[in-house]
Amino acid sequence: MPAYYLEVAVVLLGLVLLMLEAFSSASDKRFVGHLALGGLGAVFLALFVVNPTPGTSPFWQFYTADSLALTYKGIALVCTMLVLILGLDYIPVLEKYTARIGGRSAWGEFFCLPVFICAGLMWMASAIDLTSIFVSLELVTIAFYIMVTFMRRNVGSLEAGVKYLILGALSTGFLVYGFTWLYGITGQTSLMGIADKLDSGTVARAPALFSFALILVALAFKVGAVPLHFWIPDVYQGAPTPITAFLSVGSKAAGFIVATRLLAPYLGADSLSPTATAILLSLACATLLVGNFAAIPQTNFKRLLAYSSISHAGFLVLALASGASGGFGLLPSQIVAFYMAAYLCMTLLAFAVLVVVSRVTGSDELSAFNGLHQRSPLLAFALTVAMASLAGVPLTVGFLGKFFVFGAAAAHQLWLPLGFAVVGAATGFYYYLKVLRNMYWNPPASSPATAIPLAPLTKWAMVLLIAATLVFGVYPQPLLHFLR
C-alpha cells in the first residue's frame, strides 16, 4: 500500500467527522472524539503494512516514504490519539469556557481539527520539496491558530492565540523568504536537487548562508529553540491543556523532521557545513542554557513543561548539529527521531496527569500536586515516571535519548557543547524533582485526602505510556528497528 493513502484516509476521516459534528442532533458530542480515536487507530495499524520504498513517478519527488517518514507518521498518529484522549478528559473545562449553542455543546470541533493537524504532521514527515513542506506546515499552523484560542471565554486562551498567531505569521514570513532565496540560488524546489546544487560548490556562499539563517529562524520558532522561544511559556500556559501537549509534542516533532530534511543539504555541503554547524551548535548551547535555567524558578506546572520543552529542543538541536556520522552508530536523524518518540511518551504522560489534576483542583500550579501520592498513587507514580524520564534518569526512555545525544557529541569531540548538555541535564534534575517534592513530601491541601477518580480510557492510556517509558528505556531495539 502506498504511504499517501494514510494521509488521504486521515483527511477523509476529518471531513466525515466535521459533517457528523455539524449535522448531528445529539447534545453530547463525545462520540466525535471516540470516532476520531477509532479512525486514527485504524490508520495507525495500517502504517505497519505500508511499503516503505518510494516509487519513481514525478509524485515521489516531493513525497518520500522512507523509514524516517514512517516513524514520524507514527509519532503524529499516536500523539493525536493521546491528545484526543486528553481532550475527552478536558471536556468539563471546555464546557465552562465555550457557550452552548441552542442547547448543544460547542466543543465538537475540538475533536475534528486535531485530525486535520494530524494529516498535516504526517504530510510534513514525508515532504521533501519546498512547496510540500510549506503547504503541510501551514495546514498544521492554521489549525493550531484555531485550537489555541478554542476556549473563547477564557482571556488566557485568547491572549495565547494572539501571541501564537502574530509570531507564527512572522516566522512563516521568514520561512518563505528563506525559501525564495534558496530557490533563487539553486533554481530547485526539490531538496534532492538543492542538496546536489549546494554540494557542487557553484553556489555563492553568502546568499546560501543567508537563506540558511532565515530558514533557521522559522524552524527555531517551530521547535521552540532560542532565540525564538519567547512565545512558548505564554502560549503553553494559555492554550487548552490537550492542545499544549499537542503543540509540545506534535508540532515539535514536525519541526524536527522538517529541520532534519531542510538542514541536511547545508550540513552536507563542504563549503557551508562548518559555518552552519557552528551556528547550530551555538543555538543548541543557548537553548540548553535558557531552557534549563529559566525552568528553575517556575511555580506553574504548564510553564515548567514549557521550559522543559525548550530545553529538550536544545538537546535535539545538539544531536542534529553534532556531525553527519552521529554517534554510537546512529545517524543524527535517527537520534532525533528516537528522542522525539521518547519525548512523546514522557511529555504526554505528564500532560495526562496534569489534565486530571487540574480538573480536580482547578489549578495548574505546582501546589495543586501537593500530597498527590495520598490522593492517587497511580497518578503520582505516572508523574514520577514522566519526570524521571524527562530528567534523564536511566532505565527510562528519556535517558536513552540523552545518552545518544551525549554519545554523538562525544564522538565528534564537541566538549564545550557536551559541557553545556551536562550542566543543562543536571539543572533538569532540580526542576523535575521539584514536582516529586510536591507530590510526595508535601501534605495534601485537603485533609483527609480525597481520592481522585480516573476514567478507564485515561487510566489505560497512562498505564500504556508508563509501560512504554520503562520498557523502551531498557529494551529500545523495537523502536530503533523501526527506524532503520
Binding site: 554510537f328 551525549f406 562525544a410 557536551l418 532540580y430 524533582l433 513530601w441 531498557v474 531495539q477
Partner: protein, 477 residues
C-alpha cells in the same frame, strides 16, 4: 494483621530470597578463576550500538554482592519510625538495593551505569519524606550532587566508549572495552580518566566533593543511610577498579593525576577526620567518618599493587558492613532517647546493655581493631603502599601512606569519645527512660556483627575471592 505488615513481610521475603541466591552463587563460585566472570548471562537489547543486558560475577563483584545482600536484609529488618506509607518505605529500600546489586553484577557499561541511578529517586523521596533535621535541604543536596556527578561520569563513559570503539561497532561490553581501550594514546586516556575520576569521585564523596554525604546520611531514615553509605557509595570505588583503572592504564599512571589523587585522599582522611572530631551530633559524626574512610580505599587503589587493591576491596566490604551497623544503631539511639546530641546523652549502656555492647563493637571495627574485618583491610592498604619499594626509599605514595596512618589515631579519638559520651559516664536524663533492643530488632545488628567478626578472624573468606582479581588487575600495569 498490623497495618503495613504485608509490605514488611514481602520486602523481608524478597531480601531473604536474595540472600539465599547469593549463598548459592558463593557456594558455586570457582575461586581458582576469581579473575574472570562466572554465572554469566546475556541478552542483547540493542543491535547497534551494541547494548547487552549482560551479567556475571568475578571475585570483586562477588564480594560486593555479598555485602549488598547482607545489608539489604539488615535494612529491611529496621522498622519505620513513623507508621503509615510502609509500601513506599520498603519499596524504596529494595529499589536502592536493586540498583546497587544490578550495578555490581552488570558486565555491560550501560547497565552498570544505569542501575546505579535506580537509587536516585527513592533516596530523594525517603530523605524528604521520612528524614529528620534539615532533611529537605539534605535531600536536595545529595540528589543534585549525585545527579551532577553521574552526568559527568556519563560524559566520561560516552567519551571512553566512542574513542575505544573507533570506527567499529560501538560496544559497551566491558570485556571488549578492556581489550580496546588500553590501546588508546595516553593523551586520549588522561582526560577521559580524569573525567571518570571526578564523576566517580563525586559519588564516593572524594574531597572536596564530599559535602553532600554527611548531612544526607545524618538526616536519612536508617535503612536509606545503611544502604547508601554501606553499599551504594561503594559503586564509585567499584567503578574505578572495574572501569577506570583497567581500561585506562595510561591515565591511571599519569604522574599528575596520581599526585592529585594522593592530595585529595589525604583531604578525605586528615581534613574530614578533623571535621569529624568537631561534630557534636552522633549522626553527623558517623556521616563524616564514612566520608573519611573512603580515603583509605582510594589509597589502596592508588598504590597500584595487588596487596593494595585487595585491601581496598576488603575495606569496601568491611566498611560497608560497619557503617551500616553504626547507622542502624544510631537510629536506635535516636528512637530510644529522642536526641543524638552527644552532650545531652550519657550512660546509655547501663539502660540498654545490648545496644551499648554492639555499638562498642561497631566502634572498634570502625577504628580498625584486630578481630574485625576493617583491621585486615586497613593493614593491607597500608602495606600495599610499601609493597613494591624498599623501605628506605620514600616516594609520594609512601609519604602519603605514612600521613594516612595518622587517620587511625583521628578515628580512634572521635569514635571512642563519642562512645564514652553516649554510653558511659553519668546517666543523662533522656537515657534513664530508654529501653534496650529486643527481639527482632536485635537481628540485623547480630547479622552485621557476625559478618564483621567472621571476616576479621578469617580474612581468607573474602581474600580467596578478591586475590585472583587483585593480582590480575595489578598484572595489567
Amino acid at each position: 494483621m498490623a497495618a503495613g505488615a504485608p509490605a514488611r513481610q514481602s520486602a523481608l521475603a524478597a531480601a531473604l530470597v536474595n540472600l539465599v541466591l547469593t549463598g548459592w552463587v558463593v557456594l558455586g563460585f570457582d575461586y581458582g578463576h576469581g579473575a574472570s566472570f562466572q554465572f554469566e548471562a546475556s541478552r542483547v537489547v540493542l543491535e547497534n550500538p551494541r547494548l547487552g543486558f549482560n551479567v556475571g560475577v568475578d571475585g570483586m563483584s562477588l564480594v560486593m554482592v555479598v555485602l549488598t545482600s547482607l545489608v539489604t536484609v539488615a535494612a529491611v529488618l529496621v522498622r519505620p519510625v513513623k507508621a503509615g506509607g510502609e509500601a513506599l518505605y520498603y519499596s524504596s529500600s529494595l529499589l536502592i538495593a536493586a540498583g546497587a546489586m544490578g550495578a555490581f553484577v552488570a558486565t555491560d557499561l550501560f547497565f552498570f551505569y544505569a542501575f546505579h541511578e535506580l537509587a536516585l529517586i527513592p533516596t530523594f523521596l525517603m530523605i524528604g519524606m521520612r528524614g529528620s533535621g534539615d532533611n529537605r535541604e539534605a535531600a536536595w543536596k545529595i540528589t543534585l550532587y549525585l545527579g551532577f556527578g553521574s552526568l559527568v561520569l556519563l560524559a566520561g563513559l560516552a567519551a571512553l566508549v566512542t574513542s575505544a570503539s573507533g570506527t567499529g561497532l560501538t560496544t559497551f561490553n566491558m570485556a571488549e572495552l578492556r581489550e580496546l581501550a588500553p590501546k588508546l594514546a595516553p593523551s586520549v586516556q588522561e582526560p577521559i580518566y580524569l573525567t571518570l575520576l571526578l564523576g566517580f569521585g563525586v559519588l564516593i564523596s572524594l574531597f572536596p566533593f564530599h559535602s553532600w554525604a554527611a548531612p544526607a546520611y545524618a538526616s536519612a531514615p536508617a535503612p536509606t543511610a545503611m544502604l547508601h553509605a554501606g553499599v551504594l557509595k561503594k559503586f564509585g570505588l567499584y567503578g574505578l577498579l572495574r572501569v577506570a583503572v583497567p581500561m585506562l592504564p595510561a591515565g591511571f599512571h599519569a604522574e599528575w593525576i596520581q599526585s592529585m589523587l594522593l592530595v585529595l585522599l589525604l583531604g578525605n582522611i586528615l581534613f574530614i577526620g578533623l571535621v569529624a572530631i568537631a561534630q557534636k551530633e552522633l549522626d553527623l559524626l558517623l556521616g563524616h567518618s564514612s566520608v573519611m574512610h573512603m580515603g583509605y580505599v582510594f589509597l589502596g587503589i592508588a598504590s597500584g599493587t595487588a596487596l593494595g587493591y585487595s585491601g581496598a576491596i576488603f575495606l569496601m566490604f568491611a566498611h560497608g558492613i560497619s557503617i551500616a551497623l553504626l547507622f542502624a544503631l544510631c537510629a536506635q539511639v535516636r528512637e530510644k532517647t529522642g536526641t543524638l546530641q552527644m552532650a545531652r546523652l550519657g550512660g546509655l549502656a547501663k539502660y540498654a546493655p545490648f545496644l551499648g555492647l554492639s555499638f562498642a563493637m561497631a566502634t572498634f571495627a570502625s577504628i580498625g581493631l584486630p578481630g574485625f574485618g576493617n583491621f585486615a583491610a586497613e593493614i593491607m592498604v597500608f602495606l600495599g603502599g610499601f609493597a613494591e619499594k624498599p623501605v628506605d626509599q620514600l616516594g609520594s605514595l609512601q609519604i602519603t601512606t605514612i600521613l594516612a596512618l595518622w587517620g587511625v589515631v583521628i578515628s580512634a579519638v572521635y569514635m571512642l569519645r563519642a562512645f564514652r559520651q553516649v554510653f558511659q559516664g553519668e546517666p543523662a536524663e533522656v537515657c534513664t527512660r530508654a529501653g534496650d533492643l529486643s527481639g527482632l530488632s536485635r537481628l540485623p545488628v547480630i547479622l552485621l556483627l557476625l559478618a564483621l567478626l567472621a571476616t576479621g578472624f578469617f580474612p581468607e573468606l573474602l581474600l580467596q575471592a578478591i586475590r585472583p582479581f587483585a593480582q590480575a588487575l595489578a598484572a595489567l600495569n
